[in-house]
């Protein structure tokens, strides 16, 4: 027996397989692939577990190694293609660096960095120097690769998934950059959870204390090393609670 995580395939097929009596519900995305994590069976046998590798594609000028504005589409595509060829199982695309002291990025800016890259990767299957060539085979493989979008903004997440991403990767675990948590964090949380549910995508939730550019105050963690875990746990707990709000 294995625990499995399915990744839906986006963009949705245009003639979204009109499912007769299911027309009253939003279209359900087909499955692209799924990851499988064998768990120990009752007989105690444990199958080897595959490690899945993520290639990180930083569509951010301040993340690129040379720190300059080489975040162009050809660079991004070259990176994605080589990562997939090297065995990456998923490409993580982010437009807002969360490294310490990183600059603020507006939603519009993040949009324009991330969405075109996702679209370009999904469009790769028709690129290449000709059918049967190595580069064409690589492009087809890259075009079908899993993509996660590294963002804490629900608008970016939603649009990126519609453009072809299969997964949302959020360093703030849905509550946004505000820290400590406020009512805005709760609103942020509900919105992001809604997007994830409506799109039926898996999510990666990470714990972070406040905005990337802020001078982070770690003092309240000094006495409890596991606070971070606890905070994250409660977010995971809440993100799984109920689906009722997904009614259209």
């Amino acid at each position: 027996m294995s625990k499995v995580v399915p990744f839906p395939r986006y963009p949705l097929p245009t003639a979204s397989g009109a499912h007769s009596s299911a027309s009253r519900i939003p279209p359900v995305p087909p499955t692209s692939t799924y990851w499988s994590f064998p768990i120990a069976s009752s007989t105690g046998s444990q199958r080897p577990r595959k490690t899945y590798m993520m290639g990180t594609l930083n569509a951010t000028p301040d993340s690129f190694s040379d720190g300059s504005a080489h975040d162009t589409l050809p660079d991004a595509l070259a990176y994605a293609t080589s990562a997939v060829a090297a065995g990456a199982d998923i490409i993580d695309i982010g437009g807002y660096s969360t490294r310490p002291g990183a600059d603020y990025v507006s939603p519009e800016e993040e949009f324009s960095r991330v969405i075109p890259v996702v679209q370009a990767i999904r469009g790769l299957w028709q690129e290449g120097s000709g059918p049967g060539t190595v580069s064409q085979a690589r492009n087809v493989k890259t075009a079908a690769a899993l993509i996660s979008v590294d963002t804490f903004r629900w608008e970016v997440a939603e649009e990126a998934v519609h453009a072809g991403a299969n997964c949302i990767n959020d360093v703030y675990a849905f509550t946004g950059p505000e820290y400590p948590l406020s009512q805005a964090s709760a609103e942020h949380f509900v919105k992001m959870r809604q997007v994830a549910r409506d799109l039926a995508v898996p999510v990666v939730l990470m714990h972070s204390r406040g905005e990337a550019s802020a001078n982070k105050d770690y003092s309240m963690y000094a006495y409890a090393a596991d606070r971070g875990e606890e905070a994250l746990f409660s977010k995971v707990y809440e993100s799984n609670w109920g689906r009722r709000s997904m009614q259209p």
Binding site: A22, E230, N240
Partner: protein, 495 residues
């Protein structure tokens, strides 16, 4: 002083002298004794038969230990000879009479002995069991202790018990150890044979799904037989064939007659239904509006989950979405298993989950609020199909729902969803686009099949049996359940 090392869980021997901790023990002394109450079968002639006697004598051994001189201790071979002498040539009407005589002769002939515990087992006393006997203790000063324990050990017979299909068809060996602790009385000998017959008759016609239910019913037979409120019975039930690498799977129950007080039936008048939201195994959701006064219990259950975090508190302050968070009351909680093994299995499951929350629980014309809302979902698991192996693998998961539907309505609704998602009715365990089963419904126990047809699991189509009889046959369910928050299903269901 604790005699229970030589005894059994059923033994209730209590401390007589708090300062005495030392024991001398004669373990499993084998003798042959004549009884007038027969052995495996009743008999009018005295029947000589084996007995196994264990004695434990409380005695301060410190002086003997210090001086290494036996004269300060009790000579156990002397005790054995005095017992042999006392019983020689006597025919006993019962094991109690033998036990009394053994105690008496030890206390009379050995003035050092203050406290004695005796366990006498008769290996050939019963046709269906390995042994029957008594455990009691006596104190030199004062009256007989108020309680003694009768036991029947290794009672074996064959019964239908278990949830696996093969277990519903073939009887399997079940083994019981029974201890009955009751006030000392010598009015009439304890009738082991008659009691054992009643127990065996009861077991052989039983068709329980769980060993727990079987053990409890055996305890009930014993208590009804002796019919005394103060009697206490311990039943240990074992299924030797349940676990391949273990000697047996066992349950142990301790009961008194009070545990079998009649339970009030459900308000709808159907006696076979016991819907009791107050004892639902699941915690209530936080905005549960059900009127029953069990909110404190719900809170308690919830607090065993992660403590309400700042986030949880903040989420509670958000304005409700009037359309989706309507104050509809969902009085019931159910768990639903979802499984798919053809087509796009994940999409089938997602589609079913969405349809479950259809407005008005109606796939065609429904409007208004959903009558079933999903409050939690499990992880998904991929498993090989059971019983039929040349089939695609299953994806399985479970969800917890709040609902205003009654069990049969929920079943009908789920069947509609199965059809909508594209289930083609095939042979049982065959491929299916989606398979939805109600695993639990509050704490209800339901079976819509006629009483005479409940012995099999081959007639479940269109019927409703809750908890789902196949709940335990699937490793995946057990695993899935563990991961559905708050699913405090009794392990009873998972054996």
């Amino acid at each position: 002083m604790n005699f229970s090392q030589v005894s059994t869980p059923g033994d209730n021997t209590t401390t007589h002298s708090a300062d005495l901790r030392d024991l001398i023990r004669v373990k499993n002394l084998s003798l042959t004794v004549s009884f007038t109450d027969g052995s495996r079968w009743p008999s009018n002639q005295p029947a000589v038969q084996p007995v196994v006697i264990t004695l434990a004598i409380a005695h301060d051994l410190r002086q003997t230990a210090q001086t290494d001189d036996l004269s300060h201790s009790i000579n156990y071979s002397g005790i054995v000879s005095s017992i042999r002498k006392a019983i020689d040539g006597t025919s006993f009407p019962s094991v109690e009479a033998l036990a009394d005589l053994v105690c008496e002769s030890c206390l009379t002939l050995h003035s050092h002995i203050q406290d004695i515990f005796v366990r006498i087992s008769r290996p050939k006393a019963l046709l269906y069991a390995c042994a029957a006997g008594i455990e009691l203790s006596r104190h030199r000063i004062g009256k007989a202790p108020p309680e003694e324990t009768f036991f029947i050990e290794g009672l074996e017979c064959h019964a239908i018990v278990g949830v696996n299909p093969c277990e519903r068809e073939e009887r399997q060996r079940v083994r019981f150890n029974i201890w009955l602790t009751r006030g000392t009385s010598r009015k009439s000998p304890f009738d082991f044979r008659n009691l054992t017959r009643k127990i065996v008759d009861n077991i052989q016609v039983s068709t329980y799904l769980t060993l727990e239910a079987l053990a409890s019913s055996v305890a009930r037979v014993v208590l009804l037989y002796t019919a005394a409120d103060s009697d206490r019975v311990t039943v240990k039930a074992a299924k030797p064939n349940a676990l391949i690498l273990a000697e047996s799977a066992e349950v142990e129950v301790i009961r008194t007659l009070k545990d079998y007080q009649p339970v009030p039936t459900d308000s709808d008048g159907s006696p076979s239904t016991t819907v009791s939201p107050a004892s639902s195994p699941f915690p209530s959701s936080k905005d549960d509006t059900k009127p029953s006064g069990n909110s404190s219990e719900d809170r308690d259950t919830r607090t065993t989950e992660p403590a309400p975090s700042t986030l949880t508190a903040l989420l509670a302050t958000l304005p409700r979405n009037s359309k989706t968070d309507s104050p509809t009351s969902y009085p019931h909680k159910a768990t639903i298993a979802l499984g798919a093994n053809i087509g796009d299995r994940f999409a089938n499951i997602e589609r079913a989950l969405r349809l479950i929350e259809s407005p008005g629980a109606d796939l065609q014309q429904g409007n208004g609020v959903p009558k079933v809302v999903i409050v939690d979902t499990s992880f998904m698991y991929e498993t090989s199909p059971m019983y039929i192996t040349d089939q695609p693998k299953f994806i399985n998961c479970a969800c917890m729902v709040d609902t205003s539907l009654e069990p049969r309505e929920l079943l009908t609704f789920l069947k509609d969803i199965e059809n909508a998602v594209g289930r083609v009715s095939t042979f049982r365990n065959g491929p299916r686009a989606i398979d939805l089963d109600i695993l639990t419904f509050d704490s209800a126990i339901l079976d819509t099949r006629p009483e005479s047809e409940r012995g099999t699991l081959d007639n479940l189509a269109g019927q409703l049996v809750i908890p789902h009889p196949r709940i335990a046959e699937r490793e995946r369910n057990a695993e899935t359940f563990k991961r559905v928050r708050g699913a405090k299903l009794s392990s009873a269901l998972l054996i």
